[in-house]
Symmetry: C2
Subunit: 768 residues, 2 copies
């Protein structure tokens, strides 16, 4: 953890001073993205220090051959990797023949700023080169939200102490590799390079998946903001690289700038033959708009996003910065326009974990997108799973399931499983539950039932079939059991009767049956279409129901709690609090077997069930379970603190809730886990948002109505958030002694505040 | 399975006819070894077909960098691989300029014979070359038991249809690699080549472990058994290879022979500088003896081994061939001269599994070596573990254990763990129990207590400490539990309270305390030495005892059986018999999770406890447990059928015992598991021996006395075996209606036959 790394600021992420050991961390923290592409904050110029180079394009992946020590039957042959994409940001810089390299020259006044309000990244420094020339450098980079194939760089150099010959060598490079490649294979095959006076294109294709990408650039040279209409003095081309060389004498004190437009056109969106023409159009449009308009459009587009999704916090700059960083990164990663895309755990900030889609999307991200975007965005996320239902059925069939049973993958790009730890891939099957729960949650929040007859019901049926087959009858218990699973707590493997898994399995079956009946009655033609497709009859549903009705849940009479799994009470129940600090984090200090037999919980497990199904249990039950499990929870998953923060808030334990909140909101900014170098924890950022809205704000939807139980940490003067509830925007501002509501929309709505109905009229303030 | 592959024969393994698809399998089956080195039955001449090349030297290994998909804390960095050693058997052959290659010429009368009685391997065939020349080829190869650094090849060629120019190119080659190398690295670094007129040396060193090996050869050419005193016409040398070229015109019908002496001298046994001189001495001695004497000595040496360890079976050639193959291979692998060596699971026949030492040694192999060799051999096997005690303590410390607790590795070469599946490496801890049990078993059988005060007690203390720390107290049960283990049944992982593990843990503690008391009373100076070394006091032992006295064993009142582990009864208890044949073997047909949650048992687990501790239980209890568990046992481990065969025999179920016997004794010969290509299952071969001696013969040692309950399968007329019992040799011959005993020795002994005392006088026959 490093609390002094990033300067506190309401709207920007700021680093001051150049530290070679922080370069990789800052490359993660200052990453930019626009939902379609993104990059780590790698330097444009040559850098000989430690760096983790990464540019990424949404939806482009590579099925890297699986690497394991010991093969287990059922492993997927390939692991879909997030693909490091061709580099378009690179600009080599030479000053009087000396290459600018921050690792070798003398750097002062180094500063990075990620301006979250306006959506750009800026870097400035003064460099004293070995040849004695001192230059001031300013670089701004942004990826356009409006034109999501386009990125813009303005690279400015001002010689400070003498005239200098400045050479810019902007380039495109498809000869990139993944740091996490299993077998050090190349993932890209270069197909074609093409260049014109100031613009160039490198077309490359991924091996195996055959995505084609044209990476492009267009360069202009400005002296003191005056376009020089310069042409390259030299152009170097290889099969996967194009480099232009621009040379200009720059008088001392004057500023030379390279404006580089760049980006990608992709075969997911264009015919192969159109990739270069499409890129040319992007360039033309970008040039026509010009740098200033492009930047202004970017500022306007981010203003629109903030208008809807901003959360303000008064009296606590670090908390304010933290929540905005989380919201900003979520919007950089996924904007919800394209149902082929999803929310990778590292977004566009790293390669780790591979795949783009975990159960995180359904469990953590959908609530955020539902409440801060048009409902179509959440619907696209649901449709992503619908579109992959066939693959989920194939996946289940590989593991011996039949008759259309669907097991969604633990990690995926295209619907195929790409994880290969047996204890996760084969056994962490509760993920299937979260996917069904998201359908329920979408309808509960949006009131849009149409998704279920159109698409959702088929998913629910495939999932119910899976649970029905996966549960087995224990003659010993005379109940159905689910053996050999891994629950959300990945610090236990291959356990029997994980409460959370059994509970959500039963719920999935019950909910599927309920929705089948509803669709049968209210959407007869959809019903007929679906039933003929899935070949489901009443007899089969009776079998499902038998499993749901006789599901076993491990329970301790003594403690009055459901047990995380069979045998939990056999563990040596020493609380985290009584563990020596030197033993933490256990995932770094203890061997795996010791973790497994310990009672320590990585993230909410039984409590995850209490989070999803809060209204199935009393507050007393929640308290009992929270008091039983939280003391054994080490929160070593980024997904852990948020759920606990929400539940602590429900239980009125605001200090604890606030502590958990800080831990989730500044996880990356303060580098709690000393791993931010590898990229950001994108999906858990949605949990931070939930901590405020559902935790402190106490927002719930019950019977088509918004409910709030506002609470506020002592440390804050106030906070506010907005909710897009059924196409009207409700703004909620909470202060120590009052809560204010304002509504942007046309129809008055009734909300419940601490159980009391409050009418909120459009465009008028209600204070409670 | 392939029952017609190997011709039935009492003393030889014979293959007739050349089948390209069987070459790799036969390379395994016809492997030869002499305890110090060995090779697969690779062809000496060039072969372009599918082959798995392998030469091995006992004790020489390489720590290959661990390969896993997902790293877990505690994994060893390196995995010790059985090392493919430099090739000394190679002889390229050209006939009138055409290379002899069985994959490309026309082969007839192909025959292999592994003569187990005399210890040699012979191959003969007729080859019609593309150039029209037909030759008859006879090759005999053996590895000297007397001079275990020396191997001998006689390669004879007789042109059948015309005179021919025969070129022999014998070579040495250190440029070998392992098929199972994790990262395709080279394991050998060539240091030096040296050659004289007919002899050559290649010295190479293993990377990292720095074993140095001189591989040598000496060649002579004979025409019709007349030494030609030929010299090579050409010598080709590279950094890791020496090739001699001998050329000779051979008249039609006459026989040219290359006699190649070869082998290794190794830095484990010689100073580095002496490797070549030592090899020269071996060559000189070999030449002085000459081929005929070397062969005769080999026959004599094997006769001595057979004299002691042979088992005869009358009336069932396949059963006879099977048991001799097992005994032969065990003796080829390990002769017990060197306590630095152990019994690799594939011996000198393949690379699979890595390491040389599993719990197989203690659980399966020691009884065989104890009864068929001088007791020093078993003592050497025990000492191997004593010598690695420090490493076992280090290994435990890596996993968080303290105070001299010892966890022996699952797989090892030098005492360090080299396995890396967490469910095995970290959790299959019952191996520690077998190591203690072997100490008990050695004393029970040999009556030699001296091993315990000298060495064994320290091992017992380290192991007791481990179990004491590994068990945890369950307040819920008010007993000690052992969580998160894998039992002998590796088709279950991370289970709680595996009966076998808990039982042997308790036994280890009890036995250690008992031996400490005994040593204290009877070996005061050893006691003082050991206690001051291990720093053990009575208070600590009281803690141990508390764990042993309050150990929990899962038990089912309903079934009257101990449960394999907690939750076993939750499983869907469908018997193997009711499983569709298409689903077998489940380890090939089912995904891993499905296997884990099934009730199916890979090898004896609870029953392994009943095997080790037979006299702790009644025959009725054994029957109940056998009837409960065997029906769920799929016997997909080579170690499974033998224990079940013994127990079926105890229960008087001779048909079942016989079926299990056949499965264990001809596992490799009939290639039951279709994997003999990879090498033989050496350690389970000792289980075959146990099936006869302990199963059919019913041999036990109780109170320093041999007991027998002889039974005989209906299919046999009779069988006999010998037992070295306390330096006297007892021969037991069982027929359908009588059992005969003869004793080679000086003192009469009393044995019990079906509970009745029988006096056996030296050198006289007793019939019961």
């Amino acid at each position: 953890m490093n609390q002094d790394y990033i300067k506190p600021d309401n709207w920007s992420i700021i680093e001051e001073g150049f530290d070679l050991d922080r370069v990789k961390s800052s490359e993660s923290l200052f990453s930019i993205g626009n939902g379609a592409m993104g990059q780590r904050a790698n330097f444009e110029e040559f850098y000989s220090g430690k760096t983790f180079q990464g540019s990424y394009i949404a939806g482009i992946y590579y099925p890297d051959k699986t690497k394991v020590g010991w093969w287990k039957n059922g492993y997927p042959e390939y692991f879909a990797k997030v693909l490091n994409a061709p580099n378009w940001i690179g600009v080599l810089v030479e000053i009087n023949g000396e290459t600018l390299d921050l690792a070798s020259c003398k750097v002062s006044d180094f500063k990075r700023e990620l301006n979250m309000k306006e959506g750009w990244y800026h870097r400035s420094f003064t460099a004293l080169l070995h040849n004695g020339i001192e230059v001031e450098v300013n670089v701004r980079r942004f990826l356009s939200l409006d034109m999501d194939e386009l990125g813009v760089i303005k690279y400015e150099i001002t010689p400070k102490n003498q005239d200098a010959t400045v050479v810019f060598k902007p380039y495109l490079d498809a000869g990139v590799h993944n740091e996490d490649a299993n077998w050090e294979e190349k993932f890209w095959e270069p197909l074609q390079t093409q260049h014109d006076i100031n613009e160039a294109f490198v077309v490359a294709r991924t091996f195996k998946t055959h995505f084609e990408v044209a990476t492009f650039m267009h360069n202009s040279i400005y002296l003191n903001n005056e376009n020089q209409n310069a042409e390259p003095v030299f152009t170097d081309t290889t099969s996967d690289k194009v480099i232009f060389t621009y040379e200009q004498l720059v008088p001392k004190g004057q500023t030379i700038a390279l404006q580089k437009l760049g980006g990608y056109t992709v075969s997911m969106n264009h015919a192969s033959a159109d990739l270069i023409p499409a890129a040319q159009k992007v360039i033309q449009k970008g040039l026509a708009l010009g740098y200033d308009s492009l930047l202004q459009n970017q500022i306007d587009a981010w203003a629109k996003i903030w208008e809807m999704s901003d959360i303000t916090i008064e009296g606590d700059v670090k908390a304010q910065q933290g929540i905005r960083f989380n919201i900003f990164q979520l919007n950089q990663t996924y904007l919800g326009k394209d149902s082929r895309l999803n929310i990778g755990p590292k977004g566009f900030t790293g390669e780790k974990y591979g795949g783009s889609t975990y159960w995180d999307t359904e469990a953590y991200c959908i609530p955020f997108y539902m409440a801060t975007k048009d409902q179509q965005v959440a619907r696209n996320l649901l449709a992503y799973r619908y579109n992959q239902l066939d693959k989920a059925i194939e996946n289940a069939a590989k593991l011996g399931f039949k008759n259309g049973a669907a097991l969604y993958p633990m990690v995926t790009m295209n619907g195929e499983e790409c994880h290969n730890e047996w204890e996760i891939t084969f056994e962490e099957i509760h993920r299937n539950g979260a996917i069904a729960f998201a359908i329920f949650n979408y309808y509960r929040f949006t009131g849009d039932y149409s998704y279920i007859p159109e698409k959702g019901l088929e998913v629910l049926i495939g999932i119910a079939r899976f649970w029905h087959q996966r549960a087995t009858f224990s003659t010993y218990r005379n109940q159905y059991v689910i053996l050999g699973v891994t629950g959300p707590n990945e610090y236990e493997n291959n356990v029997n009767n994980n409460f959370y898994t059994n509970y959500i399995a039963k719920w999935c079956i019950d909910y599927a049956i309920e929705q089948i009946q509803k669709v049968k009655q209210e959407y007869a033609s959809d019903y007929a279409r679906i039933m003929s497709k899935v070949n489901l009859d009443d007899a089969e549903m009776l079998h499902w129901k038998k499993v749901a009705d006789h599901m076993y849940f491990p329970y301790s009479e003594e403690h009055g709690v459901y047990l995380q799994q069979d045998g939990f009470l056999d563990k040596e129940l020493v609380k985290v609090h009584d563990l020596d600090k030197s033993q933490r984090p256990i995932n770094q200090k203890w061997s795996w077997d010791r973790i497994l037999r310990s009672p320590y919980i990585k993230q909410a497990d039984t409590l995850q069930g209490f989070y999803f199904f809060e209204d199935h249990f009393t507050k007393e039950q929640l308290e009992k379970h929270f008091d039983f499990y939280e003391p054994f929870t080490v929160h070593e998953s980024s997904l852990s603190p948020c759920v606990h923060s929400i539940q602590a808030a429900v239980l009125g334990r605001m200090e604890q809730a606030y502590t958990f909140y800080l831990r989730t909101s500044r996880l990356d900014l303060d580098d709690y886990n000393k791993e931010v170098e590898e990229g950001l924890h994108i999906t858990s950022m949605a949990g931070t948002w939930m901590s405020i809205v559902e935790g402190f704000g106490g927002m719930r939807v019950k019977n088509n109505t918004l409910h709030f139980e506002p609470r506020i940490p002592n440390e804050w003067n106030g906070y506010s958030f907005k909710i897009n509830f059924r196409n009207q925007i409700l703004k909620v501002s909470v202060h120590q002694h009052e809560t204010k509501f304002t509504l942007e929309g046309n129809s008055p709505i009734t909300v419940f505040v601490n159980g009391k109905a409050v009418l909120v009229e459009p465009n008028s303030l209600v204070t409670v």
